[in-house]
Symmetry: C4
Subunit: 419 residues, 4 copies
Amino acid sequence: MTIDHDNRFKIFWEFFIGILATVVAIEFPLRIVLGYEIMEFHAYMNAIITLCFGLDIYLGFNTNTQLQGKWVTDKRIIAQKYYRKWFLIDLLAFIPFDWILCIWSSNPTSYALLRSIRMIKVFKMFNYRKTWMHILSFNDSIIRLGVFLYFIMLITHWFSCGWLYIRSDEDEILGINDYILSLYWCVTTLTTIGYGDITPDKTKISQVLYTMIVQVLGAGTYGYIIGNIASVLASLNIAKAHFIERIGKINTFMKAQDFPITLQRKVNDYYSYLWETRHGDDDVNMISNLPESFRLDFAYHLNKGVLEKVPVLKDADETIIQDLALRLHPHVFVHGDTIFSEGEKGHKMYFIQQGTVEILQKEHGRVAILSNGDFFGEISLLLDTNRNATVRALDYCDLYSLDKKSFDGVVSQYPEFEK
Amino acid sequence: MTIDHDNRFKIFWEFFIGILATVVAIEFPLRIVLGYEIMEFHAYMNAIITLCFGLDIYLGFNTNTQLQGKWVTDKRIIAQKYYRKWFLIDLLAFIPFDWILCIWSSNPTSYALLRSIRMIKVFKMFNYRKTWMHILSFNDSIIRLGVFLYFIMLITHWFSCGWLYIRSDEDEILGINDYILSLYWCVTTLTTIGYGDITPDKTKISQVLYTMIVQVLGAGTYGYIIGNIASVLASLNIAKAHFIERIGKINTFMKAQDFPITLQRKVNDYYSYLWETRHGDDDVNMISNLPESFRLDFAYHLNKGVLEKVPVLKDADETIIQDLALRLHPHVFVHGDTIFSEGEKGHKMYFIQQGTVEILQKEHGRVAILSNGDFFGEISLLLDTNRNATVRALDYCDLYSLDKKSFDGVVSQYPEFEK
Amino acid sequence: MTIDHDNRFKIFWEFFIGILATVVAIEFPLRIVLGYEIMEFHAYMNAIITLCFGLDIYLGFNTNTQLQGKWVTDKRIIAQKYYRKWFLIDLLAFIPFDWILCIWSSNPTSYALLRSIRMIKVFKMFNYRKTWMHILSFNDSIIRLGVFLYFIMLITHWFSCGWLYIRSDEDEILGINDYILSLYWCVTTLTTIGYGDITPDKTKISQVLYTMIVQVLGAGTYGYIIGNIASVLASLNIAKAHFIERIGKINTFMKAQDFPITLQRKVNDYYSYLWETRHGDDDVNMISNLPESFRLDFAYHLNKGVLEKVPVLKDADETIIQDLALRLHPHVFVHGDTIFSEGEKGHKMYFIQQGTVEILQKEHGRVAILSNGDFFGEISLLLDTNRNATVRALDYCDLYSLDKKSFDGVVSQYPEFEK
Amino acid sequence: MTIDHDNRFKIFWEFFIGILATVVAIEFPLRIVLGYEIMEFHAYMNAIITLCFGLDIYLGFNTNTQLQGKWVTDKRIIAQKYYRKWFLIDLLAFIPFDWILCIWSSNPTSYALLRSIRMIKVFKMFNYRKTWMHILSFNDSIIRLGVFLYFIMLITHWFSCGWLYIRSDEDEILGINDYILSLYWCVTTLTTIGYGDITPDKTKISQVLYTMIVQVLGAGTYGYIIGNIASVLASLNIAKAHFIERIGKINTFMKAQDFPITLQRKVNDYYSYLWETRHGDDDVNMISNLPESFRLDFAYHLNKGVLEKVPVLKDADETIIQDLALRLHPHVFVHGDTIFSEGEKGHKMYFIQQGTVEILQKEHGRVAILSNGDFFGEISLLLDTNRNATVRALDYCDLYSLDKKSFDGVVSQYPEFEK
């Protein structure tokens, strides 16, 4: 039995391991550089980390994985994919080099590099990206920026520890204040501000070389951040930007052609409405871009509410409603627009999704007011008569229309429905 | 009775409150840091601010608000939206903590944070953005950049005050010069120039930490500005850029193919004309992108001037003119172009919006010159004859054409017009 | 009589005035700051400048100007446009404040600002941009960047002079070395490097404030440059970038689908050919985007060379060739492609613009080899027979085809040609 | 006989010359600045370099070159192109100025500039770009960035040597430590960090001027890098970005319309599948954008595997398979989709490229399971009957369909196949 990819415990576990790996990545280099003792606390901590990282390996072999869009539960395939991707990193992070060194060597502090191998676990953060994107339903570029900022912080920390290590004399005892000054130097350099109040000792080549590395990498990452923030911000509201550009163009045009102010206002209000109710997305457009397989599902979910209110369809088969749903066409009418006029040839029936319309007859004036969930013009689907009333929008109206041809096409397929 | 969103007083009031909030945001932290006395002047100022901010809350409950593109006047709905959005901020800015502290405490200066809560009002600037965009008819990205620069200035001010606060000893008396030096440090850091002539005292961790915060935030905002200026500049003349790109492409092509210089000039002059008269926008294109509801209105406003000059249409019904307007098709002709030739079959009538044409007949040579507001070829709409003259453009000509089919379609709908 | 906009002298004059204005913009502030004497040389120089700037005003009233794409020679309209745009600047630059001050005042050096008004002439550079774009046929964005760099240099110079002015004591005598150090400070600050080896005297608020202004403006312009260089570089080879992207996509696709190497090479070579011969532009595409008026001209110039080689068209009227030119359709064939096969129905005649083809007959094998300027398949335009040979490309072949329907359409319009 | 452009030796030689030129570009200026002796080692090195650069000229005259997409082997044309492009640089790099100076002058070190001419060879790197792009099949923008970083490194090195040269006194003996400090200064400046711990001696104008040059160029290149890294990163995953944007849009839409979670998951899984199997590229789309000449080749290579498994086509002519291949149409079906239903009119035959389907009959239930390489519905191509079974996808299925009309069209052209 394997763990499902959507399992709550799995998500929590990933979060927990992420925090643990972060703690390791921060605490280990600090411990090595500041050189404080391996106290009892550290022994316990090491034990917990080793245990959790071991458990993580076990879970890695038992969690569903996605292959070509399908979720695989076959343990053999899971193991294969795990071996190829994360097993080595998980294993290296699991091995408690600290303890092994304690047994083998009398002076474990000198094996700094070997002991810091454990920090490698932090790179599994890249793996968790996908899960979090799913859970938090964030934009992918925000997550990417987040992961990037996370690693910038870690790298700043590591650079600071390195600077402390290279700067300090052998027998100096360093405290947290030294670390903060080191971090200060690192931040000043990475942001390219470079006060120059802390600089490498020119007589020690190692310090000069180290500074150069930090500067070059710092300038690179800084450039990367700038480029990224700009592009993330751009991608966040690309839909709105397109929308605003369109309105801007229309407004420029209307001004250039001296359109009356009332018309300009009307157009602007209309676009505000369009944005607030559907974010510039167009139902029809959206559905037509989908693969065939999903079009029916989408149309059904969008339109079934509208259709189910029609009495004659209440007891109809679901497949009929699905078929009709795919054939509905959305319209938006503005206050005052005439939807159809008395005496016209009618070919369409309308469903009101949202808004209010009035039914007018030349002889009787306003006959009725219809609103959300109502429908009108249904006679034209059955008989070939002229419209017997005028319908006018009293409000912004989201209507769906169904034309005679589509209706006849659907009905002819379901002979039992024709009664 | 509620205040209309386009009310002049409301716009003035927003402007006034904006200035007041800015003054508060600048003066309050300065007063706290420099520690000057709460004199009579401040008492009066506080009273005025409290009064105005109170009035602003009252107005917030009584101003029309936009919901899904519709302007709402129902006070209940206005209040609901106001509670959800700005009420808390307005309330916090309204409460005169200064006075309350004066009553409760003997040493009010120590409650720096509590007193500076009032500055929160400055965030209402975001709310005014929309109004100003409407009034000043600026591009949205310019406004965004403006708001951003405004907050950059405020943040620089706040950072400077903070630096002064952290740097100064308890009993030092600070003057405006100290503030300017502090501002200087802040600007030097935020622009990432970092002279390093003023740096934190390394023995005081608070100063080092504060510097790091300013550096990190400074580098971030700086990157953001760079990205933003570039994109605002790009968006400002996107239409022109497209236009220039098109001309550039044509020029490259003409050069590569060794076109005669005179033709190259002619093409370039034509595009200059196109740009200066219609900014690369195309009437037909613009209208076809509009929702159905507005197409008629747009076409009518664009073309009615042209149509009303036709004698036979002078007394015609407005609906006929509207219908015809929607069917006009714009053309541009260059000096020397033949619009139609004698003897051709004619299907279109032309209206001259701007420019000059000459009417030529094989037998008589130039018969007439027509210009702005004139029309020609009207016989072809009524009779099925050949053109009895050649028409040639003497100039850049903006013409509208109306073809027989459209005309007949419109006329047939209005039997009384057929006389 | 007015000066034509393409007049050589006018272009030279603009260039000369540009240099003069630059000299003024550089020399005037230096003279004021370094305080060197107004020697005889300066008197002569002033006289020349005044003379030339005066002449420039005269020419401004007598040079053709472009209005709505048309070149205007009417002096009244020219003067109107000149008054509205450049007259004030030209006038201010013309007035020799130096001399006037010499007469009025005993200590002319103190009126620094008044004397430097002349530098305003440098802004006419913006006006020359269009001429230079025309002459040098540079990309507009390169010119924009050039103008921008020019002003960056001037601003750096002005900032340096200002720094020298603010820094220096009253009675200090400054030399060119002081200017260079000032320039050094300015460059260090504007590039945001900020060594901090030259910083404002903290006791003099004017220096601190001046430094802040330079820093803020410097950071802004720097950001602008970065954004601009990037976008100019992007726009320079946008055509190539699109082309490379397309090839990249096809290559990825071919690799993913394991296409044979020889086919991959063939495709890549084909695209190299396409790029080198027509820079990714497509004749047909280019022409179809043009306004109607130019389509005929373009097609004629592109194709007449091909058509004039056909014997039967040699004596044909130019209008026939024009009409046929518009109906030619370009094709590219790769080595080995069969253009048509023996026995097929033929509807098209082909003209070889560039390349070699072989004519094969089943019975006789290779019958002929045709190359640049030749044509084949002409029988199919006249008679309704099957192809009597196979034609195969031996090389990359740029062919134009003319189909029977187009040919018949053209011929029917010219009855005298049908003989 | 000339060397082929794809010759292995040629690629290796270019790589070798590239390394040699890099060594020269690094070692020569160092030798001049640090002033170490021309030992025996250098004599040998010089000899090798002269030899190799000479050989490179010889090879330049004997390597195929590409002209208008065709590979030219004619030595005269190769030489012509070589003279115009690289001959001068190769020649200058070939001449051993060192030896000539040794003979002519007693103090060769003073001719620094003349001796460093050899470094010019490094610019041939630009020429190798194309080869490497071909070999490593990297994205063009990565290569461009690589070449750019390479030159940034060289320029940093050259700037450092220049700084050392300008800074040092005549008779000072410089070591590698001095070079490292010089490099440190250069990196600090180019990254715009500017500590200011090493600054020019203000009394020496040459140092001040040199610093300014480095600063200005440094700021420019830095801006260029930032712009470039951002655009390279963007171009690298433009396909993925488009894909993610599309999914993002659909997800937003589904959430806004309250679609059931299971449908949302299904849609997301489907898009994962689409991405992993075909990277968002669409076969049909890809082929329709190709020039006619390649469409047949592409379609054949994509589909022949599918077609050759059909028994009746096994012995068919290759041209038939090619013709059929061009007419196949790809489909993707999701688990549970019905491909066709029993009793429907059938017009298409299906080939399974990947996936599993089940054949169901109303009377017998599941009749068969078909998978990769199988096909079904073939009867509908031959007879005009209704489907005798329902086919449902059990999995993601990549199918190709062939409809009756296409099949008939192909078959009618090959009468011998109709048996």
